[in-house]
Symmetry: C2
Subunit: 585 residues, 2 copies
C-alpha cells in the first residue's frame, strides 16, 4: 500500500477513511476478548518490572490509542510484555529501589526516552540498525530471558523474598529462603500454575468435546488466566488467607492514569540512555516480527520505519500517563488476530476496556494473590523458552550456533544487557571474519556451453596458459590482503601461465584498500610477464574504477563476458569446448 | 618459497644454507650504508619517544639480529621509527614522566608486551586482524602523525620548552613559549632543516653533475643527516654554543646495551595492554607493506604470519637490551634494498655497526645539538604527510574519504589512539551499512546468448509471468530484512506474476537469519500463488540448505543455470531470445 503526505506518518487517515459498521463490530469483539486477557497480564508484568500492579493497567490504555493512530499493523496489540518488563527491572534497579516513588517516575522516564529514540529512528529511517540483532541472538536472548523471568517468579510462588537478576543470584537467594516457604501461598501458586498449564494443553480439547467450535474453544481457553484470578481471589476472601501470610496485591487506586510529564534529574536520564536504546531496539525487533508474521497471513504489509514511529508514540503516551516501556506482545496479538481484529481501532477499543476496568474493577483486585500473577507469568514465559533452537543452529551452522549459545550463557550468567551486547559483538566479529576470507573459485568452461564453473565442482576444460578466477565477494579492506595472497599463490605454481582473468560477476564494490591490492597484484604479475584481464565487471564498479588510474594502466583487457575473454585468450580451446568436444583438461 | 619443519619458523636455516661470499659482500656494503643513516635517526627517534638518545642506539642492535633470524624479508631494516616512537610517547606519558628511570623501564616493558603480542598473533595465524586497518585509515593516520611529530619538534628548533600530544596542545604551548626562543638554537635548527631539505631535493642532482653515477649519488645523498650532525657538533664546539643556551645531547654512556628483563608492577602492564596492541598492529601493517613492496621488486615473497614472529622477536630483543618498540622502517629499508642487501644478514651486520658506534662514537655525540636531531625528524616525517590522498579518496569514494578524514581530524584533535579507533570503528560501521543494503538486480536474457543481465544496464528480454532476481551478496543477518523488503515490493507491482527465480550466482553463504527471511518470502509468495525457484546455487550453499527443511518445502525448483530455469518457465521466449530474435521486452 502506497501512502502519501500526512497519511504516510498518520496511517489512521488512510484506513480510517474506509471504516464501516462491519469492521467496527469485528474490532469490538476482538477488543473485548483481548481486554479480558490483558488485565491479569498487565498487572503481572508490572509486578515483574518491580512496579505497582496498577502501573501495568496505566501502560495498557493511552499507549494502545497512540499506536492505533500511528501504527501500521492491523493486528498488533501493544502493552506491557515480559522481556521488556525484565529489561526495565534490570535498568531501574541500578538507579532506584523497586516500589519506591522514584522507581515509578524513573520507569516513566525510561518509557519517554525509549519512545523518543524510536521516533527518531523512524524519522531518520534507521530501522535497519535492528538488523544487527541476528536471529540466533534474539532467539537465544528470549530463551534466556524466559528462564530468568520464570526463576524470578518462584519466590512469589513460594511466598518468600529473594532477589537477583542473573539465574545464579536468583537461584542461590531462593535456596537460602526455602525454609521460610508459606504453605498457603505455595498451595495457591502451585495450583494456579498447574491449572494454567492445563488450560494451555487440556482445556481447548475438552471444550471441543463439549461441542464448542475450534474457534470458540480457542478463545474461551484464552480466558483461563481470568478464571484463575477469580478463583484465587475467592479463596483468599473465603479462607482469609491474607491473614495467613499470603501476599496480596492490596489497594489498587481506582481511576484513570494521572497525566503528567515524568520529571527526573539529567544524571538519571544519562544513566538510562543505554538501557533505553536496548529496550527500544529489542522491543522494535520483537514487535515487528510479530506484526510481519500476522500481516503475511492476510497478505497485508507493514512499514518497519513507520512501526518505529507507532511504537515510539505508544511509549511517549505511556510516559505521560504513569506507565512504563511497552511494545507489541506476541500472545495478545495472535488472540487479537484470531478474534478478527481488522484495524488498529481494535487496540483503541481495548484501551477503553482497560480504562473501564481501572475505573470499576480495581476494588475486586485487592485480594488478588501475588502468587496467581506469578503463575500467569511463569506459564507465559516458559512458552518463550526454545532450547531446541540451539540444536537446529548447531546442525545448520557453527557461526549461528556460537552467538546463540554465547547470548544464552552470558544472559543467564551476567544479565540481559551483557548478554545482548556479547551476542551482537560476536555476530559482527564472525561476519567480519567471514568477510576477511573471500571465496575465490578457479573456473573452467563447461563443455557444450558458454558457461564457466568451479573446477572443483564441475567437469570443465581449462588452458594452462590462462588462469580464470571468479571472485565471489565485493572487494574491501577486510578481504583485500587475502585476495592478494590467494592470487599470487595460485600463480606461483603455474610456469606456463601468460594470462590471469578475474571474473568479476559477484563484485559490487571495490574500495580503495582493494584497489591498492589489485594494483599490487597487477604489478607482481607484470614482473613475471603475466597480463591481468577483467571480465563481467558490473557497471557501477566500472564507473568507479574509471575514476582511478587502474583501468588505463591495466596490462590486459576488460571483457563483457568470461566467454569472450577465453575466446580471445584461448580461441582453439574455447571453440572446441563450445562445440562440446572433449578437450584435455 | 615453501618451508618445512623448523625452518618454517626460523627462516635463517633456509637462506643461511645457501649463504656465500658474494651475498656476504653485498650484504656488508648495504649494512655499512644503513649504519651511517641509522645512527642519527635512532638518536632522533628516541628523543621523539621522550627517551634518552642512547636508547635509540640500543634499540638498533639486538632487534636487528633477532629479525635477521626470524624475519622473512630480505631487505627490511628494523629499528626505531617515527610513528611507533610517537605512539610510545603517547602511551608512556600516561604512566611515567619523560626522561625518568621508570619511563625508560616502562618503554622496555611496552616493547616486551608488544613483542609477545606479535609472536602470539603470528603463532595463532591472526595476521588478518591487521586487515581491520583499512588503507584510508592507515594513510590518514600516518599523515596526521607526521604533522603532530613535526609540530612537536618545533620546540627543539626554537630552543623552548612546550609539551602536548594533540596539534592544538602543541600549538598553543609553542605560541606561549615563542618569546623565550634561543637565537643560536634557532640558527642551528633552521640551517640544519634547510640543509636536509636541500639534500633531499638538490644534492643528488648536484652530485650527478659532478659526474657521480645515479646510484652513487643516491647513496651519498642518504648520508646528508650525518653531514648535518658532524657540522653542527663542530659549530657547537668551536663557538661553545652549549654555554649560550643551545641544548645538546650531553653525556651518552659508552658501551653495549645492558641485558636485563624490564621489571614493572602488574598494574603498569595492564594499563599498557591497549597501547601495546595498537603499536603491534600499526607497526606490523607499516612493516609488512614495506616488506611486500620491496619483495615484489625482486619477485620474492614474504610470509605475513612469519613476519609477525620476526617483528615480535625483534621487540622482545629490544626489551631485554634496554630498548623500546621497533618495527620495519620505510626509508632505511629502501636504502638497504638499493644498496644491494640480499639476505636478512645485512641487518645483523648493521647491528654490529651500531654496536661499534655505541662503543666508540658516543663521546663525539656529547656536543650534538638537540636542534639538529629535531631537524632530521621534521624533514623525515614531513615526507610522510600526504594530504593529496584526501583528494584521491574523495574522487574515488565517499566511503573511503569519510574514514580517512575522520582519522586525520580525530588524531590531530584528540591524539593517536582516539584517531585510530575512530577510523577503524567508522570503517567497520560503513562496511556493515553497505552489507545491510544488498545489491539485487532484475535480470533478463541478452538476445542471441544464454546470458542474463541487469535490465537497467543491458538490452534484454523478459517475461511478465517470470521475475528473475540476481542477488549479488551472501545473505546474512545484516541484509536479510532488506532482501525480504526488496523482493516483496517488486512482486507487489506485478499482477501477472507466476514465478520468481532467485539467481544465486553470487551467494556464498546463507545464515540462519537469512534462511528465516527466505522462508518468509516463500510463504508470502505462496499465499499469492507465486512459486519461488532458485538457480545457479553454489555447492557449499546447497549442502547447507539441504540441512534445513527449506529445499524440501520449496514451492518451485532448483535449476543449475538461469538459462535452464527460464527455458523451463518461459520456453517460447527463451527459444526466441537464444536464437537472437527480437522479442517484446
Amino acid at each position: 500500500m502506497t501512502r502519501t503526505g500526512l497519511s504516510r506518518y498518520v496511517p489512521i487517515l488512510d484506513w480510517g477513511r474506509r471504516y464501516d459498521t462491519r469492521t467496527f463490530t469485528s474490532d469490538l469483539v476482538a477488543a473485548a476478548i483481548v481486554t479480558i486477557m490483558l488485565i491479569p497480564q498487565s498487572l503481572a508484568y508490572a509486578l515483574l518490572a518491580g512496579l505497582p500492579p496498577v502501573v501495568g493497567l496505566y501502560a495498557s490504555i493511552l499507549p494502545l490509542v497512540a499506536y492505533a493512530v500511528f501504527g501500521t499493523s492491523r493486528a498488533l496489540a501493544v502493552g506491557p510484555v515480559a522481556v521488556v518488563s525484565l529489561l526495565t527491572a534490570a535498568a531501574l534497579s541500578e538507579v532506584a529501589t523497586p516500589g519506591s516513588a522514584e522507581y515509578v517516575v524513573a520507569a516513566a522516564a525510561l518509557a519517554l526516552m525509549s519512545g523518543a529514540m524510536l521516533i527518531a529512528l523512524g524519522i531518520f529511517r534507521l530501522g535497519f540498525i535492528a538488523n544487527l540483532l541476528s536471529h540466533p541472538v534474539i532467539s537465544g536472548f528470549i530463551t534466556a530471558s524466559g528462564l530468568i523471568i520464570a526463576a524470578s517468579q518462584l519466590k512469589h510462588l513460594l511466598g518468600v523474598s529473594a532477589g537477583g537478576h542473573t539465574l545464579l543470584e536468583v537461584g542461590t537467594a531462593l535456596v537460602a529462603a526455602l525454609p521460610q516457604t508459606n504453605p498457603w501461598t505455595l498451595a495457591i501458586g502451585a495450583s494456579a500454575t498447574a491449572f494454567l498449564f492445563w488450560v494451555r494443553s487440556g482445556l481447548k480439547p475438552a471444550l471441543r468435546r463439549l461441542g464448542l467450535s475450534d474457534y470458540a474453544a480457542g478463545l474461551v481457553a484464552r480466558a483461563g488466566p481470568v478464571i484463575a484470578v477469580a478463583a484465587s481471589i475467592l479463596s483468599v476472601v473465603v479462607l482469609s488467607l491474607d491473614e495467613k501470610g499470603v501476599a496480596i496485591v492490596g489497594d489498587v487506586p481506582a481511576g484513570l492514569p494521572p497525566l503528567a510529564l515524568p520529571v527526573v534529574e539529567t544524571s538519571l536520564l544519562v544513566s538510562l540512555i543505554a538501557p533505553a536504546l536496548l529496550i527500544s531496539v529489542i522491543g522494535f525487533v520483537e514487535s515487528v516480527s510479530v506484526a510481519q508474521t500476522l500481516a503475511a497471513k492476510r497478505r497485508q504489509s507493514i512499514v518497519p520505519n513507520q512501526e518505529l514511529i507507532g511504537l515510539g508514540a505508544a511509549n511517549v503516551a505511556s510516559a505521560f500517563s504513569g506507565g512504563y516501556p511497552v511494545t507489541g506482545g506476541f500472545a495478545r496479538s495472535v488472540v487479537n488476530f484470531d478474534a478478527g481484529a481488522e484495524t488498529p481501532a481494535a487496540g483503541a477499543f481495548t484501551a477503553i476496556g482497560i480504562a473501564l476496568a481501572s475505573l470499576f474493577l480495581t476494588p475486586l483486585l485487592h485480594y488478588l494473590p501475588i502468587a496467581t500473577l506469578a503463575a500467569t507469568i511463569v506459564v507465559a514465559v516458559l512458552s518463550l523458552v526454545d532450547l531446541g533452537a540451539l540444536k537446529r543452529a548447531w546442525t545448520y551452522s557453527r557461526h549461528d550456533f556460537a552467538p546463540m549459545l554465547a547470548t544464552i550463557l552470558v544472559t543467564l550468567g551476567f544479565g540481559v544487557e551483557a548478554g545482548i551486547l556479547t551476542g551482537v559483538a560476536l555476530s559482527i566479529a564472525l561476519l567480519l571474519w567471514r568477510t576477511s576470507r573471500p571465496h575465490i573459485a578457479i573456473v573452467g568452461q563447461v563443455p557444450g556451453t558458454e558457461h564457466f564453473r568451479n573446477v572443483k565442482r564441475h567437469r570443465v576444460v581449462t588452458d594452462e596458459r590462462v588462469l580464470s578466477l571468479r571472485i565471489d565477494e565485493s572487494l574491501n579492506f577486510a578481504n583485500a590482503r587475502a585476495t592478494e595472497e590467494f592470487v599470487l599463490e595460485e600463480v606461483a605454481g603455474r610456469p606456463a601461465l601468460a594470462h590471469v582473468v578475474l571474473q568479476c560477476t559477484a563484485i559490487n564494490e571495490i574500495d580503495m584498500s582493494a584497489l591498492e591490492s589489485l594494483e599490487l597484484i597487477m604489478h607482481r604479475l607484470e614482473a613475471q610477464g603475466i597480463a591481468l584481464h577483467l571480465s563481467e565487471v558490473k557497471g557501477p564498479v566500472m564507473d568507479r574504477l574509471a575514476r582511478s588510474h587502474f583501468v588505463e594502466h591495466l596490462t590486459g583487457a576488460v571483457y563483457l563476458t568470461q566467454h569472450q575473454a577465453m575466446s580471445a585468450l584461448s580461441p582453439a580451446l574455447t571453440r572446441a569446448a563450445t562445440r562440446g568436444e572433449s578437450v584435455a583438461a
